[in-house]
């Protein structure tokens, strides 16, 4: 009872607030010549919007009354925390510590494409590094059997190279932290096939 009276009071208040007050700013301080004085003074006072400064809660969504077509919404997703795979979620994630040490969880990522198993994720190794890895593994197969994809891959790698070298700040300075290559290159490595007879071999 009390609640309903307060609501009606609030709505009355709201109605009082939007009483004809000139609410659109369309009048400059400079006087204008008008063709029809009546027309210029008759203004829209209600653009179909209620100010709801003092009205708590959430407005109902706009709905067509008595419409039989259900509102489009995503299907309700049934979550089954105790289905077989969900009940065993996470099994073998610690197998390298609790097992005999011969298996690592990176090997067990069977849902991942083979060439990405155990490869650092894209938050660490960016797309360029990933594509270079793909190219290194499958270059000959691509060239031989799927030249279009080979071409596209090369285009993409070239594009990303340009992107990283010219348009991006150098993000690749920590590429050796990814675990794909040794932390430090062998600076002193010289190709033995190119070794000169002048090289001093003690």
């Amino acid at each position: 009872m009390l609640a309903s009276t307060s609501v009606s009071k609030a709505s009355n208040l709201a109605r009082i607030v939007i009483l004809p007050i000139r609410s659109f700013h369309d009048r400059s301080s400079v006087p204008r010549v008008v063709d029809d004085r009546e027309k210029s003074s008759a203004k829209y006072t209600d653009a179909g919007y209620n100010f709801r400064y003092h009205q708590n809660g959430v407005d109902a969504l706009p709905r067509i009354p008595d419409c039989k077509v259900p509102v489009a919404r995503p299907d309700f997703k049934v979550r089954e925390p105790w289905s077989v795979e969900n009940a065993r979620f996470g099994q073998n994630d610690y197998i390298d510590l609790l097992g005999d040490g011969s298996i690592h969880p990176a090997q067990l990522q069977y849902h991942t494409p083979t060439w990405l198993r155990g490869f650092p994720g894209q938050h660490r190794a960016n797309e360029l590094v990933k594509l270079i890895h793909y190219r290194n593994l499958y270059d000959s197969k691509l060239k031989q059997n799927s030249p279009k994809r080979w071409h596209e891959l090369r285009k993409r790698i070239k594009y990303l190279m340009m992107q990283h070298n010219y348009n991006k700040q150098d993000e690749l300075n920590r590429e050796r932290d990814l675990g794909l290559w040794d932390e430090k290159p062998d600076y002193t490595f010289k190709d033995k096939s190119r070794r000169s007879f002048r090289d001093e071999i003690p």
Binding site: G99, T114, K130
Partner: protein, 282 residues
């Protein structure tokens, strides 16, 4: 605390004494203990008390470490197979659709530009995307210890003599058993061997909330997800042995996971999955 007195009252037979490997000499570190029961009958019968290693079952309850472990377990396996094609990879689009100037339209060079409705995507999701990373061993070990500690501290960790070849495989029996022992909604049984037989095996096929795992399947997520964790005595031994062995190992605990080290093994294993001629799509 006064478990030995309690034990005497309840008439338990087995003693608590266990050789705890590299247990700290610090007198202020108390040894956690647990009841030893069995799964033969519905009612809980206390067979004795068993000592647990304080480095595994009584560590500081670091919920943040646990959080890192749980987050890792959820995230590291994720794969996104979406590949949004760029304008270069979409068919067509080689021709300039209309002259550069004097048409009043936008200056465009291809119908596959990203502004077009059926154009390619700029900065889209590219290819199979993974979030794989490995937490350092130290964090994962500590996470396991924290999870076990929490279960023990909240009285949700139980030790049983044996899980193999139990007589009763009736789901009703197991439901009553868990009900009468106040084991909560879900129960995780951990045993030493990776094959389980007998009543428990039959029951866990029927009941979704009752599951068995080998010791190497143990993980933070499952320990926390299940209301109760039940270890067999052998499993307890093995878990302690493995965890302590790693905690005291000579190798550093912060060793970085390097793809380099596993690349050969992973690729060799997956060779059978691959087409001998065609490279994998995406």
């Amino acid at each position: 605390m006064f478990l030995s007195q309690l034990m005497r009252q309840s008439g338990a037979s087995a003693s608590a004494a266990r050789n705890l490997w590299r247990k700290s000499e610090n007198p202020f570190i108390s040894t956690p203990q647990a009841w030893l029961t069995d799964l033969e009958q519905v009612e809980e019968k206390k067979r004795g008390i068993i000592d647990l290693h304080p480095d595994v079952f009584r560590v500081a309850p670091r919920l943040d470490i646990l959080h890192r472990n749980l987050t890792w377990q959820k995230v590291y396996r994720n794969v996104q197979m979406t590949k949004m094609l760029t304008k270069a990879e979409m068919p067509g689009g080689g021709r300039k659709p209309w002259p550069q100037k004097k048409t009043g339209r936008a200056h465009v060079g291809s119908i596959r530009q990203p502004e077009f409705i059926h154009g390619g995507f700029a900065n889209g999701v590219r290819g199979p995307r993974t979030w794989f990373y490995m937490l350092p061993d130290a964090i994962r070990l500590q996470g396991l210890c924290v999870a076990l500690t929490l279960k023990h501290a909240q009285d949700d960790l139980h030790i049983v003599e044996n899980m193999q070849d139990l007589q009763n495989g009736d789901p009703k029996f197991w439901q009553d058993l868990c009900e009468s022992r106040n084991w909560g909604y879900s129960v995780l049984m951990i045993d030493d061997s990776d094959v389980i037989s007998g009543g428990l095996a039959e029951a866990q096929e029927q009941l979704a909330w009752l599951n068995c795992m080998p010791v190497y399947g143990l993980n933070c997520y499952s320990i926390i997800k299940y209301d109760t964790v039940v270890l067999s005595k052998n499993a307890l031994e093995k878990i302690e042995q493995r965890l302590l062995q790693h905690l005291h190992r000579a190798k550093p605990l912060n060793l970085k996971y390097r793809y380099q080290d596993y690349k050969e093994k992973i690729l060799n294993e997956s060779r059978a999955e691959e087409n001998p001629n065609m490279p994998p799509i995406v």
